[in-house]
């Protein structure tokens, strides 16, 4: 399985090199005050979340899939290797985000540190959700069709939010859920919310993994 993870990273070597160059530019622009740290860390979380498409496209271009299925690696482990590759990528982004938060905290800019932490948590969590949804779709439909299906679904969700959340008072409904809580509880909940959000988002990868395994077990090349 480690061989497959290494294979993924070697396949993404050029992409990751270009990411590092972009990262250096963004960090420089952030230090110069052009962009906020929250924007930069968020941007990288989103880029890391886009890597599943790249991984599968690289496999497809090299016609790796039938060869990969012929290797003496259990199909569940093949899926596991792909999930771990993406988790490692997201872990790297999390480290980057923590380093940013830590830097601002050490400099005494707590407001910027908090802002970076919140943005990082949201983007990291959304990246995990994206992977949890997209990976079974890719295993089922292939990277290109999955991309279309995913964006269509995303647009649908945004449309739903715009239609329901804004004009019909969905926002008030959401706030109403917090109404029974005391003010102190609300503060504690809000403080823990980013971390809870990330934890819940990453937990979604568990059922996603089992769905992907079930799909990939029946996959033919």
């Amino acid at each position: 399985m480690t061989g497959l993870i290494l294979k993924d990273f070697l396949g993404l070597r050029n992409v990751l090199k270009s990411y590092l160059i972009i990262l250096a530019i963004y960090v420089a622009l952030t230090v110069l005050g052009v962009w906020t740290p929250a924007f930069t860390t968020g941007f990288f979380a989103v880029m890391a979340a886009m890597l599943p498409f790249t991984c599968f496209n690289v496999d497809h271009a090299a016609k790796w899939e039938p060869y990969g299925a012929a290797l003496p690696v259990n199909r569940n482990r093949t899926v596991c290797a792909r999930y771990l590759t993406l988790l490692i990528m997201q872990g790297a982004v999390a480290v980057l985000e923590l380093a940013t938060v830590g830097a601002f905290w050490l400099m005494g800019d707590l407001e910027e540190a908090l802002s970076s932490l919140l943005a990082g948590c949201v983007c990291l969590g959304m990246g995990a959700v994206l992977n949890a949804i997209i990976l079974p779709l890719i295993y089922r439909f292939g990277a290109e069709r999955a991309r279309v299906i995913f964006y269509a679904a995303l647009l649908g969700l945004i449309g739903l939010a715009v239609l329901w959340l804004v004009p019909l008072g969905g926002g008030e409904w959401l706030m109403g859920l917090l109404a029974p809580l005391e003010e102190g509880d609300v503060s504690a909940l809000l403080a823990a919310l980013p971390f809870l959000f990330v934890a819940v988002c990453f937990l979604l990868l568990v059922p996603s993994y089992f769905i992907s395994c079930a799909i990939y077990r029946e996959k033919e090349f």
Binding site: M1, T2, G3, L4, L6, K7, L10, G11, R13, N14, V58, A61, A62, K63, W64, P66, Y67, G68, A69, A70, L71, P72, V73, E218, E220, F221
Partner: protein
């Protein structure tokens, strides 16, 4: 001695094509050449043997074990190089040593030297011949007992093909080893294969020891009048053109004694395929 391959009643159904039922045995220490026209089911059969494609029915046993358990002892070369173009042979070594428990990095480098493949050059800079040699080096470096090669010599020049065929012959000198090679280049199989399996429209049209097949079958060139006098059971197929009439004879020796006035010549695998594919079946 364990059979390298045993296939019993293998069937794979698609909406517009059915492979099988296939029954096939390859003893150890032998090479089986799999031939057939494009779309006959050769690649499907090989993929079914490895679980890459899942058959609807039948059993596949490799090296005396179910295919799932034997995969680590099987070297695979498919019709194209399957490694990422941005990798180098040394990267392939790093990846596959973590996949195959019996991977031998020293042996891999020996094959790279033998095939004159630079370890640090990008695969995208390799010619087709170099890519196929890399695939073969990868298939051999974990010391497999069975090689499954799908069009492994396609697109290679005769010198490279000869080198690779020599490698195959060396591999099966061990009676514990076996090779299944599918190829359109029947001259290669006539040189190297011990057994021939001919797939025609998904069915096994011919299967047996190569020498016996080539000894048994024959090509008859005759007139239309001669053809009319021949018992249809003595021929497999005929081809008629404006200038000639030819027939594929089932049993050359028996035919020669039954029809002493008619000349029957030895036939090549290519000619057998053409008769089967284009000839009029009797």
């Amino acid at each position: 001695m364990t059979n390298s391959i045993e296939i019993r009643g293998l069937v794979k159904e698609y909406p517009d094509f059915t492979l099988g039922p296939i029954d096939l045995t390859l003893p150890g220490g032998a090479i089986l050449g799999l031939i057939g026209e494009n779309g006959a089911g050769k690649t499907t059969l090989m993929r079914c043997m490895l679980g890459v494609t899942l058959p609807n029915a039948g059993q596949v046993s490799l090296l005396g074990r179910p295919w799932e358990e034997a995969k680590a002892d099987v070297g695979v070369v498919m019709d194209d190089c399957f490694f990422y173009e941005q990798l180098r042979p040394k990267d392939v070594d790093s990846v596959l040593r973590r996949v195959y428990p019996t991977w031998d990095g020293g042996l891999f480098r020996e094959y790279l030297d033998k095939f004159a493949l630079p370890e640090k050059k990008l695969i995208k800079e390799f010619s087709r011949g170099m890519r196929m040699k890399l695939s073969l080096a990868s298939a051999l470096a974990h010391r497999p007992r069975l090689l499954l090669l799908d069009e492994a010599t396609a697109g290679l020049d005769p010198v490279v093909r000869d080198e690779i065929l020599d490698e195959f012959l060396g591999f099966v000198s061990d009676e514990d080893h076996g090779i299944l090679i599918s190829s359109h280049i029947t001259s290669d199989l006539e040189k190297a294969a011990d057994y021939i399996a001919y797939l025609h429209h998904g069915k096994l049209a011919l299967y047996g020891e190569k020498d016996r097949l080539l000894e048994r079958y024959g090509r008859l060139a005759c007139t239309r009048e001669d053809l009319a006098s021949i018992d249809k059971n003595d021929l497999v197929a005929v081809r008629r053109s404006q200038y000639a009439t030819e027939g594929l004879v089932k049993d050359r020796a028996a035919f020669a004694s039954k029809y002493p006035g008619l000349a029957v010549e030895p036939v090549s695998l290519d000619e057998i395929m053409v008769f089967m594919e284009k000839g009029e079946r009797l």
